[in-house]
Symmetry: C2
Subunit: 428 residues, 2 copies
Amino acid sequence: MSYYQTLSEKQLKTEISELEDRLAFYRAKNLKLNMARGKPSVEQVASSKELFDVLNSQSDFSDEGVDSLNYGALRGIPSAINFFAQLLEVEPEEVFVGGSSSLILEYDMLCRALIFGVLGEKPQFSNPHRKFLCPAPGYDRHFKIAENLGYELVYIPMTDKGPDMDQVEKAVEDENVKGIWIVPKYSNPSGVSFSDETMRRLVALKPQAKDFRIYCDNAYAVHDLYPESPDKVLALLPLAKEYGNEDLVYLYASTSKMTVPGAGVSAFACSEKNMASQIELMKAHTISYDKVNMLRHVRFFKDIDGVKAHMKKQASFLSPKFDLVDKAFHEGFDGLDIAEWNKPKGGYFVSLYTKEPIAIELVELCKNLGVILTSAGSSYPYGKDPHNSHVRICPSYPSLDELESALEVITCCVKYLSARKAEAVDEH
Amino acid sequence: MSYYQTLSEKQLKTEISELEDRLAFYRAKNLKLNMARGKPSVEQVASSKELFDVLNSQSDFSDEGVDSLNYGALRGIPSAINFFAQLLEVEPEEVFVGGSSSLILEYDMLCRALIFGVLGEKPQFSNPHRKFLCPAPGYDRHFKIAENLGYELVYIPMTDKGPDMDQVEKAVEDENVKGIWIVPKYSNPSGVSFSDETMRRLVALKPQAKDFRIYCDNAYAVHDLYPESPDKVLALLPLAKEYGNEDLVYLYASTSKMTVPGAGVSAFACSEKNMASQIELMKAHTISYDKVNMLRHVRFFKDIDGVKAHMKKQASFLSPKFDLVDKAFHEGFDGLDIAEWNKPKGGYFVSLYTKEPIAIELVELCKNLGVILTSAGSSYPYGKDPHNSHVRICPSYPSLDELESALEVITCCVKYLSARKAEAVDEH
């Protein structure tokens, strides 16, 4: 029972009145804070600007015999292939280095499944009942891509160990189910890192559809907030090999949230059999992605130790913000029993769950007070949160001061809406 | 009648014997010359290296209020939009700035026609009889993209004014015909620039299929070999507007052959109605393309005058090579009546047409002598040249000395194969 439900009618009215005063106070401040997306802050991005000192007109642009200044090398320059092989814990032969967006690689690969089919299976377009598993809360753009491409979205609840694997195992018995989206480490937006058991059950799947694939967006592979105690997640492709199931897995990563958002380098990895097929389907329209930007990034990071050092610097911008979210929510909610939230050890998001079904109202109210949050429900298939309780908090972009203001508004709004819910029940 | 056909049997035998000696001489040289693709030379690319001095860690990365170092600005940074608007002679609202490859933009747009349909029409995937018009000789990758995506390729002969418009007008009466590839200026590989009449007839088309589009790859918009006397081609989108037919046109361009091949910036342009639809279909999977590389290019070129000056420098590398091709062919073929060729005023290719149907044999023989040419037939739908007479010559990559050697081999091979043909006729 929430604190507000324990109050007398009179006490509750007083409380609501005080909260309304607070809301009026915030409204008068004319805040303009956007926390809708997982954007690094200006200061954080500035800490990567030396990326643009790495190459100049005097540089040697050759990379292990490949000229990064001319056409060719479809899978990318050798050093970039090796870099992502290390990052994704796969073999170089399993890596394709792309452009500035892993999301586009994901979309492209699903388009190819749709148009050409997967390893000799029929084009998925020809199946009007095609479905995609969406562990939720999850990444809204993943869900929207599958929806746009005509897949029916199947809701799989997320647990604190990853997707509910009982439901996944059951779902893949349907041959119309063609894929699942996962973000195995510091999941967007729940912050969950998948347990070893979840990873093993994923690679052990025996889907009815031969063209079922795990679309694994390892977006936060090295994005630890507390580098001394990172979450550890088993590497998916080597694990799939162990189970003789390596064709089941497509992996994605990018440097967007390592260096410069939207101007980084992306990659995918898959079994050599899948890779041969992908290359065959890409080679007419792809000569290569931007090899100079690959070279710039590899030379900037130097090696995996360079990545670790750089990501530690990134964490120094991010972890105080995540600490502040946790502190503000504790201060705001402790003892009231009106909200829960996670404290992730990496990634870009905190998931706030209200006890009452008030997420839509909460996002609307915050917006009216000048604090833009991600749309309520957007982390669920079709944008519909079955409990109307989840709100994605993106603390990375605002300054600490702005974030503090925004969190005050958010906690006050949760309290107000929860109190109003208690009042409504009273009135019944 | 060719020179060899006028010879007596004995004279011909002597001639063939001399040509065989010549071939043996070339074989002994162990040449290794690759002229298969339209690649700028190492020296030419080096002349653009200052591109990488434009930005460094101290630079201002904002562009008319848009931060090129963070997510957002789906259509690109304002200055890049304006740059391409000038280059393509369209309005800024009609421009979308992409990644390093216009070919990928073209493929993507055709995929969207396939999967989503065009402006409310049915997905083209659902039409198993879908067709695409391929003016040939044309760009092999264009044809292969349409073929891979399941379009039947319809051969349209190229004339010296552009595609045979009588045939195009007739072809679009078929509602299964969904598009045409064109390269209106310095066409790949015939070097033809489309006449005003051709351009007007293109935009005046009234195709049976509402979802028919002109895929216009303006790859060589500013790629004049002789800047003092460039070919002039009417701008397609403004012209289409004049005819009230602006939705018919998709335009593409990139800086790949202006600065660094494969690491440039691409763009497409289309009517505002088409643009709104494209954005709607892209916005889930695209946040933006690499805005830093856009900024780098715009600041490097500064303006259209900067482009002109830079392209003049590029021409200084290319025009001596094209002059050499023309000279070598004149020296080799004049008076023999065994081959024709064009002398383009821009672009990257010369088309050589043998009088006898010997293109496949020619490419094979040259290969055996260490000179790699583009596969015979590759400039035609399904890789099949109906006359087996066209060979694409790409003089841009080799040095002048290498090119001279390669041209000696090519002309000698054409003579030898033509003489053998005359001998075969004699023997009949």
